[in-house]
């Protein structure tokens, strides 16, 4: 039981990060149809800027705010200078642009910061908490709690604010949204900024556990994308469930099967799910019109 709990919490913690990355993917995808492969770089920025700002003397909460602001600024710039000028280009062209952006951001981070690994102190100490025999880092609770707050906040925003409803409308049908007077460009900018903020928050929450460096983004983008697809691209609930599920698959795979092939196990499950439900777990069924 203790062993099971240990795997469970480990999986949920890692999965929460995948979930936040997947949520970032979803937000941008819904507003613009772009699969943003620079999503992992937002997580990197969150961690790295916080590390360097706090090393420069800022208290941790302030450093974290600076990091979120920096990520949002870069997210908005990404939209303004890379996505908006290519408006109307095919989806795959836009994907390549975001891949270029991810190379660019990593290159800038390597110069502005450095290529070393960095850590952040845990928010509330390092003494493990005993949960029915499983030893849990207090930071895990921060990650899980933080993810819950972000998800809840996003839900309230989307369902209970006018702006949020505009985002949903844009996601449902961009042309129709424009016809009813929604400025879809603003909505897209909002999505990039929001998605960058979510990524940065993930980076800040998780760096005390996982450490960070200028190139942590690539793998997170891959895993986050996988999680978003597993849940069903475009569905925020799916993104969260997909992320948590992927983390759990890895942890239980490593614990009960083979630690060497845990990633294979996770992707095998994704393949099987997609064969059974080609739209992901929570995906919408899209009918192609001729």
């Amino acid at each position: 039981m203790a062993e099971f709990l240990q795997f469970l919490i480990s999986g949920l913690t890692v999965g929460a990060v995948y979930a936040l990355v997947a949520l970032g993917f979803t937000l941008i995808y819904n507003a613009s149809g772009v699969v943003n492969f620079a999503q992992g770089e937002f997580v990197m920025l969150g961690g790295m800027v916080t590390v360097f700002a706090s090393a420069a003397g800022l208290p941790l909460p302030l450093a974290a705010l600076v990091a979120i602001a920096a990520a949002v600024a870069i997210g908005l710039m990404l939209h303004r200078f890379a996505i908006e000028p290519a408006r109307g280009a095919s989806a795959v062209t836009l994907i390549i642009i975001t891949i270029g952006a991810s190379i660019l951001l990593r290159g800038v981070a390597a110069i502005v910061f450095d290529k070393q690994f960095h850590k952040l102190p845990a928010f509330t100490g390092d003494t493990p908490v005993d949960v029915l025999g499983a030893a849990v880092q207090p930071q895990s609770f921060w990650v899980l709690g933080g993810t819950a707050v972000v998800v809840l906040g996003l839900y309230v925003f989307l369902e209970h604010t006018l702006l949020g409803k505009a985002v949903l409308a844009t996601a449902a049908n961009r042309l129709a949204a424009r016809l009813v007077g929604i400025n879809t460009t603003t909505i897209m900018a909002l999505a990039f900024g929001g998605s960058a903020a979510i990524g940065a928050i993930a980076g800040i929450l998780v760096t005390p556990i996982t450490l960070t460096s200028y190139d942590v983004g690539t793998l997170l983008a891959l895993k986050g994308f996988a999680a978003a697809m597993l849940g069903g691209m475009g569905n925020p609930v799916g993104a969260v469930v997909g992320g948590l599920l992927l983390g759990l698959l890895e942890a239980f795979g490593a614990g009960y099967l083979s630690s060497t092939y845990k990633d294979a196990f996770a992707f095998l499950v994704i393949l099987i799910v997609l064969f059974a439900a080609p739209q992901g777990l929570f995906g919408r069924r899209v009918v192609e019109r001729v």
Binding site: E3, F7, D114, T210, A251
Partner: protein
């Protein structure tokens, strides 16, 4: 004109060009090449190597160069990609016409580049860890870091002294971790070691509690060994403490031999042992130690210039560069063949990694005594007194 004729003419012209440019260059500068993983997953190895080479080539040139010739250093970044490394190796040989190479951050890129230097008969001093670089011995290939096999032997020697014979292993699946794991499994029986459980983690994994829980729940494990480099071992060490396993002796490898490991792992690193070069404990060496002067000077120079803590990885580049420079001085020539012969004759070279004695059958020239067993105490490296 058919293709073959084009080819022949081209070959002739390029050969002529080669001869001409050699004549012009030979006057006052001599080119040394390097391909390093300055970016990519091994950048924390490649970056200090890059900085060290640049720092010391400047120093050598400021002091008048080698035998009256200034060194021109050509460094390419392979980003950790062996295929790219291979292309840059060709570029160094064919385009830059270097007389020797000090580089090859990872075993993967080193192995990919070896054929280029062997074919061109240009000496290649590798900075990569695995034993396969120099075993079997290749005529033009040398290396400066201790092998992973030696690291396993050093760890097992220490375990044997402590009467611990049943171990668990948790290894990274990157090149360094996988290669060292294989060597450890191979030499374990020689030391009477029994590997009860053998776990792995991916090079970018962020949580290893699942694997460690399995090790923890394996009855009879007396010690745990973690072959790996990068951020992985730091996370393993933190998870190790988190799971309350610190009563089981824990061994890291020379892959974490930089101060940033202690910094990243924090208090969890207390009591961890690892085999590493004397460089890390320069200030704790007795005055009589032959390496004391070299390691202290290198450390001061590196930390002064880069404002970053010294690592043994940069030290390997230092050793490679000076083994080469001394060979060039002895050969008093820029002929790669003659330099190679002199590198092979390196005897009693005091480097940051140990005292190097090469021979026709040993292109590393270090023995187990070059490794020191260290223990982390009070947030710093400490020499383990022999017999404890």
């Amino acid at each position: 004109m058919n293709a073959k004729a084009t080819h022949t003419i081209l070959l002739a012209t390029s050969l002529m060009g080669l001869a001409l440019s050699h004549g012009a260059l030979a006057q006052d500068t001599v080119k040394i090449g390097s391909v390093l993983s300055v970016t990519g997953p091994s950048s924390f190895l490649g970056e200090p190597e890059d900085k060290t080479l640049k720092l010391y080539v400047d120093k050598i040139n400021a002091a008048g160069g080698v035998a009256g010739k200034k060194i021109e250093l050509v460094i390419y970044d392979d980003g950790g990609d062996a295929n790219k490394a291979r292309t840059f190796a060709t570029r160094l040989i064919e385009d830059d016409e270097v007389i020797a190479m000090v580089g090859g951050t990872t075993t993967g890129s080193t192995m990919a580049m070896i054929p280029v230097f062997e074919d061109a008969k240009v000496p290649f001093i590798s900075l990569a860890g695995a034993i396969e670089v120099i075993d079997p011995v290749r005529k033009f290939v040398f290396k400066t870091p201790h092998t992973d096999k030696m690291a396993c032997e050093k760890i097992f020697e220490d375990l044997k002294k402590r009467n611990l014979t049943k171990i668990g292993m948790i290894s990274g699946t990157d090149g360094f971790g996988a290669s060292m794991r294989a060597q450890c499994v191979k030499v374990a029986p020689n030391y009477g070691m029994q590997i009860l459980i053998d776990e792995n983690y991916g090079p970018r994994d962020s949580d290893m509690t699942a694997q460690l829980t399995k090790i923890k729940n394996t009855a009879g494990v007396q010690a745990v060994v973690n072959p790996g480099f990068g951020q992985g071992p730091a996370i393993v060490t933190r998870n190790y403490a988190q799971l309350g396993m610190t009563n089981i002796p824990f061994y890291q490898s020379h892959g974490v031999a930089s101060k940033s490991f202690i910094d990243l792992a924090g208090p969890a690193a207390e009591g961890v042992r690892l085999p590493a070069a004397a460089l890390l404990v320069g200030d704790k060496l007795p005055e009589s130690d032959p390496q004391k002067k070299v390691v202290t000077e290198y450390r001061q120079a590196y930390e002064g210039a880069t404002k970053q803590p010294v690592s043994t990885f940069g030290g390997h580049a230092y050793d490679g560069l000076f083994i080469l420079v001394e060979a060039m001085k002895r050969a008093n020539s820029t002929d790669p063949q003659k330099i190679r012969d002199e590198i092979e004759k390196t005897k009693g070279f005091v480097g940051t990694g140990g005292i190097v004695n090469m021979s026709a059958t040993d292109h590393l020239g270090l023995d187990l005594s070059a490794f020191r067993m260290l223990e982390i105490k009070g947030g710093d490296w400490n020499l383990v007194a022999s017999g404890s």
